[in-house]
Amino acid sequence: MMETLPDRVGLGWRAPLAADILSNLDRIEAIEVIADDYFDAPRKDRQALRWLGHQVPLILHGVSLGLASTAPVDLVRLDHMARLVGEVEPWLWSEHLAFVRGGGIEIGHLAAPPRTAATIEGTARNLATARAIVGSDPLVENISTIIDPPGSTLDEVTWLQHTLVATENSLLLDLHNLYANACNFDFDPYEAIARLPLERVGYIHLAGGKWVQATRFPGRRLLDDHRHATPQPVFDLLAEVARRTPQPLVVILERDGDYPPFAELLNELDVARTALARGRAAQKARTDVVTTL
């Protein structure tokens, strides 16, 4: 029987925020830890993470597996992830739908793969390997990009749809990534949300970014840098997802630098809660109308 949980709103665990997070656990309902930071960590650090996971629901978030690729996933890193998941027993674990290496070269960046049938097939193969080695499925995250991946034959949403059809994984929907891509490539994020299989959304990322002037192509691009406050349009997208999804949602706010006073981050969490409540209320109102009719 499935356990019914309420929506949860949480924060990415970062060392400078540790004290504030631990002193405000009554307002932080989940945390997300970068898994790669603990791949080579001593046992005591992993045990600490396990303890932390018993204070608040903990999600391990990978950044270096490079699952969305025609190249096979790095088995050594996958083994690291499997050990970490085994020791920490996180609530969930997740990775990006990105590639991080090609031809044996690490590119040091989460890059959007060419959106083709070949990368869908490669991603499905890599996710099956991940499931076999780690023992559970990661949630997979849509990523942002400031260039349209060369060689793509599909748009982003179609590629995501087909990838989810080819796998059993749930989606970690990064709403700022979706919003940034919509700004950069001029599509409607609400339409994208309507086309996504929202019943497969496991949890959601929120973040902020900044506008940068592109040098190789005209115009400016929205960069997902995790160093700015979440913009209002992203909260509106969150409300839209909450309106369209029946399942409980977990929302994680990502912040990777230029940390504001912690009260501001807590306030962002409250705004996310309000957006969720707004979406749920709209959903309920719609359901009531349908029932009445």
């Binding site: 499935m2 356990e3 665990w13 970062r14 060392a15 400078p16 540790a18 004290a19 504030d20 631990l22 002193s23 656990l25 970068i34 790669d36 930071d37 603990y38 001593p42 005591k44 650090d45 600490a48 303890w51 018993h54 204070q55 978030h61 990978g62 950044v63 270096s64 890193r77 609530w91 969930l92 990105a98 991080v100 040091g108 960046h109 989460l110 990661p138 995250e141 990523i143 942002s144 059993e168 994984n169 749930s170 990534n177 019943e199 497969r200 496991g202 949890y203 990322h205 960069l223 997902d224 840098d225 995790h226 160093r227 399942q247 409980p248 977990v250 990777d256 630098g257 230029d258 912690f262």
Partner: protein, 351 residues
């Protein structure tokens, strides 16, 4: 859909409300008393037999046998402690009170030290120099504009009340000071949570260590006595083994926390390592809550003297903690172009 959060199987459910379970007292009923008596009699009989056998051995063989026997006894103490003090189900622990953490780490004095340091930083306490005293001692006094009632933690309020009249910081730790109030606040709660040993556990620890100590001393001293009786004076190794093993056994009595308590403290130290590395910049950038938690987890010694001079003047001999500050790495996105730095095998990025 296999990995939807609410359907993901968990080995255990840590989110259920956790009520601290009471430390199980190991008091004996009348039915069990005969078992203990039998155990004690058996122990002393075996000890006697072993002593007789071992002292009959030639010098080198005796040293080897004595060394092995002491090592076995110490190992048994460790095993017994693991069995008697299991790291139980990882229950929720309220981390919002830094003084609770300080108490868990170092007892009432440590909690008082951290509270005082925080109050000094908050300008609720002022450091004075007593000009009338020959040594020009430092004294603390509550700031006149401070409203103690507005402070969230009872310990802070108690410290402020204590320093209504100027006093030396050390007076807090003396008999009749604040220690009893701090014990009343935290001791029972932490004992019930299994983080500090209960009286029954302390007694059990003492009994086990004394048994070990008796063995180590009886065998060692008997052999030394016999050797001296026969005119041999080359007893140095025996003395060294005996003293080291005896001190080692005695340390089992004095452990302040349980194994579970140690686990929690080590976990917190690990989680705060990154912040500790930035302790020097905390005053400028951080909130008082961060400073309080850092001091709670690592002690006042974690606050650099050049950044927190008044705190270190008030407690020049603040105990240093034994934890090491290892390397810790958190992923962070650089501000340029969205590339990310991370450690632990390759670089990812801001998803």
């Amino acid at each position: 859909m296999s990995s939807y959060p609410v359907s993901t199987p968990k080995p255990s459910d840590p989110w259920k409300s956790v009520t601290p379970t009471t430390n199980q007292a190991t008091s004996l009923t009348g039915d069990d008393a005969w078992v203990v008596r039998a155990f004690v009699i058996a122990w002393f009989t075996l000890l006697l037999c072993f002593t007789v056998v071992i002292i009959c051995l030639p010098k080198t063989a005796f040293l080897l046998a004595y060394l092995l026997a002491c090592a076995t006894v110490i190992a048994m103490l460790y095993v017994r402690r693991i069995v008697a003090e299991p790291v139980r189900e990882l229950t929720k622990f309220d981390t919002s009170d830094p003084y609770r953490l300080a108490y868990l780490r170092g007892g009432a004095n440590e909690a008082l030290r951290v509270a005082t340091a925080v109050l000094i930083e908050a300008r609720h306490l002022r450091l004075l120099q007593n000009e009338s005293s020959e040594k020009k001692e430092k004294q603390l006094v509550t700031a006149p504009d401070c409203d103690a009632k507005s402070l969230p933690f009872p310990l802070e309020r108690a410290v402020l009340r204590f320093f209504t009249t100027p006093r030396k910081p050390e007076e807090m730790f003396e008999q009749g000071g604040l220690k009893q109030q701090v014990d009343d606040l935290y001791k029972e709660e932490l004992e019930n949570a299994g983080l500090l040993p209960s009286e029954a556990q302390k007694q059990a620890r003492t009994s086990r260590a004394l048994f070990a100590l008796i063995f180590i001393l009886v065998v060692g001293l008997t052999k030394i006595g016999v050797a001296l009786w026969y005119g041999y004076t080359n007893i140095g190794f025996t003395v060294i083994i005996m003293v080291v093993a005896a001190i080692w056994a005695l340390t089992f009595i004095g452990d302040y926390r349980t194994r579970f308590g140690n686990y929690v403290i080590k976990s917190l130290e690990s989680l705060f390592e990154g912040m500790r590395a930035q302790a020097a910049t905390l005053k400028a950038n951080a909130s008082l809550a961060q400073i309080a938690l850092l001091a709670g987890v690592y002690g006042v010694a974690a606050l650099p003297a050049d950044v927190f001079p008044e705190v270190r003047e008030a407690f020049p001999k603040a105990p240093t903690d034994s934890s090491s500050c290892g390397s810790s790495c958190s992923s962070s996105c650089s501000s340029d172009g969205g590339s990310c730095s991370s450690c632990g095998g390759g670089c990812g990025g801001c998803g």
